[in-house]
Symmetry: C2
Subunit: 317 residues, 2 copies
């Protein structure tokens, strides 16, 4: 068995890539998945997750539904122009033969798994952080039960993707993000600074579409709408690898190079900076001197292009 | 006569370099100076300005005192560890034989000069923007009277110098900055992104100290404390050229290369982003497409190193 990994997600096209990556990784034991609003609503995210798990031969992994809205305030629905109306690029996945857990919430499932795998569980969060914040309420010892936490979210020195400074996962629930990023656990943040630099291209989509297995083919189909959205950002059809890159860091399939531990504060005001991850990079010119109160490991670069590794993993099953 | 330039400043060591640069520039006609709290209090800033003007043979330029605190809230004093207790690195300048204007405030002087040089005045602001905000109240037509405005302030993609995201001039009065950056005039912003990349070194200080004229020698003396402060930032004794670089852009002595016109919003909340200039750089990968409501020209790079040009200008008088 590999390392126990718990996933919290809002499935989502890049979440789908991350789930497929985790299933394909020989050192990963995916022990549970919680879903959240974000790219799509939490119920649909659970449906998508179940269908992807079935397609990847992981029908045994428990899936629980979590938050349908942020800790405070409303949620205005997912971005259908990015992830399609169903969250998976309007691709119709074969329907799995089972339903999400009804007896426990995503937060409860996370807490249960943290106890079952005490000291070993890697928590990977690739959606809004509402479920993790709730789990911290349910079990105040949670930070000391898990091995580590990897979060895809935020932007340090690069523009946001919802506002000029805010990334979607953090913007969707700044209060939850503030709780999670200030909890006393070893947390690695995967911001847009690194995810926007690792891309998959049309040639990669062609490779997925030509695969023997149905899962990579479905992923290739989903990427059509996702690529189209990113033309305005990159000037061509391609996509950044937000969620799969975070999955790879959690699974030790990608190696951070520049990754200082710095103070990170979430802007939870109602001002123009709402949802920004304010990272203290003032030591950048002198090798990031130790910040005594800093707790977030901020991944800014990797040792190698991640796109080729991802495609190879997804098509070599 | 050169172009009429009005300066608003909080003199300050790098303000002193800017004043000396403007006096030495053959195409600049410095028509007035207003002072503000910031690096030092507004009264001391006026004293420093008068003394520098006298040392540079510009005893005719009117100097008026402006704001001693931001539009709202208090001011906690200048950073003596950066600019010395007197604002000019504890160097005792020869005392000028005159005093600041007593009959008009800095805001009033600016408005008067804008009328006297209607359509031609270049306004250069290198301190907190309180005086400019007040001038906009005094004369609502001010944006249409001046030729252009150049402001040293803010940080777009680089860390701040007061907080992880806020630069000192903006942080010192975010409300005033918000007013000035959203007024309907052609405004060029010179943020830390560009000023932190243009340095003067120990060899430049030696050149200033060896000059024949007393003004460059005094500047060389001031730089001692300033260089010492920047060791923590750069790992060696040197200094970035915040204010003189803005002066050079106003005087057309430095040429911006990457300078997109983008939406800039000032964070005037009391949250962790207070004082940040939130710049919309989301079009950076596709050549910054036109933003219809954008009004701020954001200078990110110059065509040449500015340090050598500055030193040559200061020592060739």
């Amino acid at each position: 068995m590999g390392r126990p990994v718990y996933l919290d997600c809002d499935t989502g096209i890049d979440d789908s890539l991350a789930i497929a990556y985790l299933m394909a990784h020989p050192d990963v034991d995916l022990v549970g998945v919680g879903t959240s609003f974000g790219n799509i609503d939490a119920h649909r995210a659970a449906r998508n997750t179940l269908d992807l798990l079935a397609l990847g031969g992981h029908d045994h992994v428990p899936v629980a539904i979590g938050a349908e809205k942020p800790l405070s305030g409303a949620w205005n629905g997912g971005p259908a122009h990015i992830h399609g109306a169903n969250g998976v690029g309007d691709v119709e996945l074969p329907r799995a033969g089972r339903e999400p857990q009804t007896d426990e919430s995503a937060a409860d499932l996370l807490v249960r798994m943290a106890h079952e795998h005490e000291g070993e569980l890697r928590v990977l969060a690739i959606g809004p952080l509402t479920n993790l914040a709730r789990a911290l309420d349910v079990e105040t010892a949670l930070p000391y039960l898990v091995e580590s936490v990897v979060v895809m979210g935020g932007a340090a020195r690069v523009p946001g993707n919802v506002t000029p400074v805010a990334e979607a996962n953090i913007f969707n629930d700044p209060d939850a993000a503030d709780r999670v990023l200030s909890a006393d656990w070893p947390l690695t943040l995967i911001p847009l600074d690194v995810t926007m630099e690792h891309l998959i291209e049309e040639s990669d989509r062609a490779t997925l579409l030509a695969a023997d297995e149905p899962l990579p083919r479905a992923l290739g189909q989903m990427l059509d709408v996702y690529y189209e959205f990113y033309v305005a950002t990159y000037g061509r059809r391609c996509a950044p690898l937000h969620d799969p890159l975070a999955a790879a860091v959690a699974a030790v399939g990608a190696t951070p190079v520049m990754a200082p531990t710095v103070q990170v504060v979430v802007d939870a005001t109602d001002g123009p900076g709402r949802g920004q991850t304010i990272c203290d990079l003032r030591g950048e010119r002198v090798g990031y001197p130790v910040q005594p109160t800093a707790r977030v490991r901020l991944v800014l670069t990797l040792d190698a292009p991640f796109g080729p590794h991802l495609i190879e993993r997804l098509t070599s099953a």
